[in-house]
């Protein structure tokens, strides 16, 4: 079974609203990453948060990490149509493997 799982599976919001998605994982990690995938394309790295960090910002992205609950959240503020994509968290279970969950599909309506 996969190390990480995103929730919800799908999310539909109005342009300008915030989008929040969560990732839960099973075992201890070194770091956690979030990626975006536009339809039919490869994944693109968004942000990396280390296991000793609790929160990180990058532009309109805010990521939190709670290692005690084995969970992370990704917040996209003031969403735009271009944010329509699937979002994946990636974890490593303290080894060299890079594991992804099933992703959250975000649709931003104009």
């Amino acid at each position: 079974s996969q190390q990480g799982e995103e929730d919800p599976q799908a999310l539909s919001i109005q342009e300008g609203e915030n989008a929040t998605m969560n990732c839960s994982y099973k075992t201890s990690i070194n770091n956690l990453q979030w990626y975006r995938q536009n339809s039919g394309r490869g994944l693109v790295h968004l942000i990396l948060i280390r296991s000793n960090e609790r929160e990180k910002h990058s532009g309109r992205l805010r990521v939190t990490l709670d290692t005690s609950k084995k969970s992370s959240s990704l917040l996209i503020t003031a969403s735009r149509a271009a944010d329509t994509a699937s979002y994946f968290c990636a974890t490593d279970a303290l080894d060299y493997k890079l594991s992804f969950g099933a992703g959250t599909t975000v649709t931003v309506r104009a």
Binding site: S1, Q2, E6, I29, N30, N31, L32, Q33, Y35, G40, R41, G42, L43, V44, H45, L48, F88, A90, T91, D92, L94, D95, Y96, K97, L98, S99, F100, G101, A102, G103
Partner: protein, 114 residues
């Protein structure tokens, strides 16, 4: 964009035939990964490599083998293709293993087994 190329981009093959997908990088990154992506499953790791001739299995490795004879090339072989291996395959590279550094992805190979 990171220099990573997958070939072919699309392939249709018959059940029972061997198929090889190629991932080529120009970044000299040590780690290379092969994933398959299917609806409802996200990306699942097939095999990965942590150096020339150094490979290990992922979570869905049955029916697949890999080889890495040069830093820049990571080959994925379906020994005898089955319809369940119809999928989109992605290659990824990273400078360090796991989540220590960002991974860069290829554009994907859409494989159909008929």
């Amino acid at each position: 964009d990171a220099g990573i190329t997958q070939s072919p981009r699309h392939k249709v093959t018959e059940t029972g035939t061997p198929v090889t997908l190629r991932c080529h990088q120009t970044e000299n990154h040590r780690y290379m990964y092969w994933y398959r992506q299917d609806p409802g499953h996200g990306l699942r790791l097939i095999h990965y490599s942590y150096g020339v001739k150094d490979t290990d299995k992922g979570e869905v490795s049955d029916g697949y083998s890999v080889s890495r004879s040069k830093t820049e090339d990571f080959l994925l072989t379906l020994e005898s293709a089955t319809s369940s291996q119809t999928s989109v395959y992605f290659c990824a590279i990273s400078k360090q293993g796991g989540t220590d550094t960002e991974a860069f992805f290829g554009q994907g190979t859409r494989l159909t087994v008929v």
